[in-house]
């Protein structure tokens, strides 16, 4: 039962990734092509809950590909992930999305 659930989550993760990818590119294309750009860049830090190498690879790759975020740095104790945001006014929503990805990865790895 547990194995079946894990396989289900492993199949679900690439679909979620593809959905995020299409959404990110449509947002970015809209932002670039409209003459008045609504961007407001800045940095933020997010507390990490996973610390293995593979888990961090799985986390930083979707964070770079989701709308408006680009993963920048991880400090030496692996406590915080530094993220560059394109829309600083929607900071709460974006941090919530990154935490959502983190829970999905924790479900796969554990």
């Amino acid at each position: 039962m547990n194995v079946l659930k894990k396989i289900y989550y492993i199949i679900l993760f690439p679909l979620y990734y593809l959905f995020k990818l299409v959404k990110a590119n449509l947002f970015l294309a809209w932002d670039i092509l409209t003459p008045k750009m609504m961007i407001n860049p800045g940095f933020t830090r997010i507390r990490l809950e996973i610390s293995s190498d593979f888990g961090l690879l799985l986390l930083s790759n979707p964070v770079s590909m989701t709308p408006g975020t680009l993963s920048q740095d991880i400090d030496r104790e692996r406590k915080f992930l530094e993220v560059h945001l394109l829309y600083m006014d929607q900071r709460e929503v974006t941090e919530h999305e990154v935490r959502d990805i983190m829970t999905k990865i924790k479900r796969i790895l554990e």
Binding site: N25, L28, A29, M37, P41, S64, L70
Partner: protein
Amino acid sequence: MTALTSILLFLGSVFILIASIGLLRFRESFSRMHATTKATSFGLLLILAGVVFYFLSFIVAIKALLVIVFVYLTAPLAAHSISKTVRNTGKNKR
């Protein structure tokens, strides 16, 4: 050469064009990296999907999958390395 193939190829080229326009219009290096990392990878994905639908053979599909995996593994790493360089040299203003 079906209509689907040509539409996929055209959309991929348009996304690469959008990435270059973003490289021209954004004001600082980090925002430019947003444009090149996301839109370029997505454009290459669409072009490779068009190539697979054009040839419709197994070996081309495997090769296209390899290219997609390489691009999607290496594009965020390259962006990460460039941004570390930008922050170390401290020349991110214009």
